[in-house]
Amino acid sequence: MRRVVITGAGTVNALAPDVAGTYAAMAEGRCGIGALDIPDKDRLLVQIGAQVQGWQPEAHFSRQELPLLDRFAQFARVAARQAVDQSGLSFDGELADRSGVILGTAGGGLGTTDDTYRAVYAEGKNRVHPLVVPRLMHSAGASHVAMAHNLRGPSFSVASACASSNHAMGLAFQMIRGGGAQVMLTGGSEAMLCFGGIKAWEGLRVMSQTACRPFSLTRNGMVQGEGAAVFVFEDFDHARARGAQILAEVIGFAMTSDAADIVMPSQDGAARAIAGALRDAGLKADQVGYINAHGTGTAANDKTECAALTQVFGSHASQLMISSTKAMHGHIIGGTGAVELLACLMALQQGVIAPTIGYEAADPDCALDVVPNVARQARVEVALSNAFAFGGLNAVLALRRAP
């Protein structure tokens, strides 16, 4: 089995349009959630979100490219460019044929769907833009990243709601580990902060109208964000041979299904995914130092996640640092695991643990060290990243400090 390392990272999210800015924001515990700025906001009950501010697509894409790119694909393209630049790779010849891209997204080009429905239903138009279909398809992000970087190997998109990115990155990891690819661009992207996207979420009655407060007794729901993160996963031997800078090693992955309920999470499904990732990585529980939690700030997720962690880690659970960065960048749905992997990289590379901000009061059902409000310095050897999606689809990644 091949070893897999990360040699590049890129992101666009509400905290910053790049990795360095995101690390700085996470280290200072900055909140990217604010008043939403979208059309028809006055008809929404939920009026807050973590929007990417000042996004100027024309700064990144030509006039010919723009009609082809929904906002979620734009985020993916820009994040991928940053990651490839950092890796120093260029893809041609055999390497191009042995490299691919797997991206997670839950909504795909939802903004394009929303705009187009508005045109034909609300505005009575009988004609839509000719490129609606290639813009809205979930796989558009993966295709555009493949085209931009000449990635000619295995490429597709993954949709598993809020675990999409973790499933995508897990598959990319397995693909390189199993010898099916040399380099994979992977992560995820989401741009669901449009009127229809938020209106749909409102209906579930799980959104907060005030703030995202994971693990806090005062939490009252999730807050949506948007953005992307993309990483270069690379065969370790290939990276070492070319003297690449290694950000971290991906050492394990597991996925499970609750097979139980379409919205309520299960402790057993989460615990099996966490334990599975440890087993896949050959880790003992006490080797883990940091866990980036799914931590949505809903009543149901946070207590179930803490119970699952306690079940798997036993007495070591109280020694773990566990934080949810969603209170800063919002819940980026299908892109969230990718942006959250940055918190794991920051912990492993820089020894800075991103905090759970917005934390007000201890909840006896979440009595673990959730690194409340203020970042912490700590040397971390191994980090996990949890993602537990609606419909009971769970995916957990394990990372280790660069070899």
Partner: protein, 86 residues
């Protein structure tokens, strides 16, 4: 149909019961309504009476809308209708 009977009909539909099987002192739990059924019942109440029910699944007890029994829900809906008329 008056408010009371319409609320009972909505709850009966979500609980997959006949209206005759619903008594006013019953809780939604005892009628077998799960969290999704509850959210659907609230949606049906909002659509049926053109009101907005303040309900957040994360803090149901703080929502200011008493869901403790069928009778309590009827009173709460009547209150929302009165508020709308005022």
């Amino acid at each position: 149909m008056n408010v009371k009977n319409r609320v009972i009909a909505i709850i009966a539909e979500q609980a997959v019961l006949d209206v005759s099987e619903i008594s006013l002192d019953q809780s939604l739990d005892s009628l077998g309504l799960d969290s999704l059924g509850l959210v659907e019942a609230i949606f049906a109440i909002e659509e049926s009476f053109d009101v907005s029910v303040p309900f957040n699944a994360n803090e149901p007890s703080k929502s200011g809308f008493d869901l403790s029994s069928v009778a309590a829900i009827i009173v709460a809906v009547e209150g929302l209708i009165a508020q709308k008329a005022a």
